[in-house]
């Protein structure tokens, strides 16, 4: 078991300075592990510190105490080993789709970078748009470009922070299915942070529920169902009810 532990989070805490010298505790002691290849979703109420938690785990912020280990090594900063996909996206608007996809391909070990970029563009359904600029694409296509840019560097981990919540409901559902399809082709460990319970239970192997600030893990649910899942199935509906109850709804 110890060999397959990809991410180990041990009792991390984080506070931010508030007004008049007081501190606002945001993350209040969180521990969990993510196995290699596992898809873990973390759901919590808005403003509970989900994004702070994700920033710490992905290496963009350091916790006040506690540690994050990836493959047994302390996470000291961001690295291409784990790519973040966030709500508003970060596809560079001044580069074409192909240039965006080639952005992370540093060094010479990647062979024909343009061909590799085009392969991933095709994989996410952006064939024919390689030379388009982001402002010429729709929101859904932009999200696909962002996913492709992450996949092209073959990250071991994907950190997804509300990845589809800026999309409309229909595109949101389409992107879930799309993501699962790609994950079926290429194995990744995924940590998803979301406020959307259905999104979590549709995709994840395990769902962790966060408490309000300072946030801790309040409950954990295993989703033992094969894909493709049907949200209307009694098991998932029951699970949804249980998670919503934890969230106080």
């Amino acid at each position: 078991m110890s060999d397959s532990r990809k991410i180990v989070v041990t009792d991390i805490r984080k506070s931010f300075p508030a007004s008049k010298g007081a501190t606002l505790p945001v993350v209040g002691g969180i521990s969990f592990t993510v196995a290699d290849g596992e898809f873990v979703a973390i759901v919590g109420p808005s403003g509970c510190g989900k994004s702070t938690l994700m920033n710490i785990i992905a290496g963009f912020e350091q916790p006040d105490s506690g540690s994050v280990q990836v493959d047994g090594k302390e996470q000291l900063g961001p690295s291409p080993k784990g790519i973040v996909i966030s709500q508003h996206g970060s596809v560079f608007p001044w580069l074409t789709v192909r240039q965006n996809l080639m952005f992370g391909l540093n060094g010479d070990e990647h062979g024909d970078k343009a061909a590799l970029a085009d392969h991933y563009a095709a994989m996410v359904g952006l064939k024919g748009f390689e030379n388009s600029y982001p402002h010429e694409l729709s929101g859904g296509m932009l999200k696909r470009a962002e996913l492709a840019r992450a996949f092209v560097v073959k990250p071991e981990i994907l950190y997804m922070d509300e990845p589809f919540s800026a999309l409309d409901a229909l595109m949101n559902m389409r992107m879930r299915t799309e993501l699962l399809r790609i994950l079926g082709e290429e194995r990744h460990t995924v940590l998803l942070i979301t406020h959307d319970v259905e999104e979590a239970i549709y995709m994840a192997d395990r769902v962790l529920v966060l408490s309000p600030r300072p946030t801790t893990i309040q409950a954990s649910f295993r989703v033992d169902m094969p894909h493709p899942r049907k949200l209307s199935s009694p098991e998932l509906q029951g699970l949804r009810e249980a998670i919503l109850k934890e969230l106080g709804l």
């Binding site: 963009f60 900063g77 690295s79 790519i83 970060s90 560079f92 001044w94 952005f103 402002h135």
Partner: protein, 249 residues
């Protein structure tokens, strides 16, 4: 058609009123629009008009070009390095509001009455707005793009070439528009003082050499038209594919 008709109508109205007033008051000095046209043709035919235009454009081109070469690297550096910003920003902010006209006596003292004085004045007048604009361009790069670059672990040179500079480019272009606008204002003012060529000189010379107000007004109109043209040329830069993102939303 409905777009160009109203401005044309305004110009026609201005010319009509001008003409009517000159005829009505039987002014001996102030020219009618037609006299301005014949005066312009006269200058164009003997070639002096083109010499004056070329002299002014040469000074603006040199002064503005030098300012651009200094302002962009300096602005990028000040935007990126906090210490450089804190060190240099106060003095630049203090020099910026000083009218370039105030520098004219100093310019003549230091550089005499040749081409160097107006070039220096143009440099002084256009370098500060471009520095300020470039610096603020760096400061306003959205953090998500810098985070993405950090996430992909790119080298410093890739960070600058593919993220920082393209992100700031639209601001640099705005700075260039401001810079070229002030440069053109200043060259005319500078040439009025102490030179023997240029459109500013033409204005003073027309008045001094026999009250040729027809030539004076012709120069003013030509200055306006060339200013418009210079702005139009810098605006063309906004059409570049890599900066369009900034202007489409």
């Amino acid at each position: 058609m409905s777009k160009i008709l109203p401005p044309l109508a305004v110009m026609a109205l201005v010319i009509t009123v001008w003409w009517a007033v000159v005829v009505k008051t039987e002014s001996a000095i102030f020219p009618t629009p037609w006299q301005v046209v014949t005066g312009t043709l006269e200058l164009a035919e003997d070639g002096t008009l083109w010499e004056h235009i070329a002299a002014s454009l040469f000074r603006v081109g040199t002064g503005f070009g030098l300012a651009l070469l200094v302002a962009v690297p300096l602005g990028l550096w000040m935007g990126w390095v906090g210490g450089a910003y804190r060190t240099f920003n106060p003095i630049f902010q203090m020099l910026r509001p000083i009218s370039p006209i105030a520098w004219i006596p100093l310019a003549i003292l230091w550089f005499g009455v040749g081409d160097v004085s107006p070039i220096f004045l143009i440099f002084i007048s256009s370098v500060f707005p471009m520095i300020v604009q470039t610096t603020s361009g760096v400061h306003t790069i959205e953090r998500r793009y810098l985070r993405a670059a950090a996430n992909f672990g790119v080298s410093r040179s890739v960070l600058f070439r593919q993220v920082v500079i393209p992100a700031v480019l639209p601001e640099i272009i705005i700075g260039m528009r401001i810079g070229i606008g002030v440069a053109w204002l200043v060259v005319v003012a500078a040439e009025m003082i102490a030179l023997r060529s240029g459109l500013g000189y033409l204005i003073m010379d027309s008045r001094n050499a026999g009250n040729r107000y027809d030539l004076l007004i012709a120069s003013m109109i030509i200055i306006g038209l060339i200013g418009l043209l210079l702005d139009g040329i810098t605006r063309l830069l906004e059409r570049m594919k890599t900066v369009k993102w900034r202007y489409v939303r």
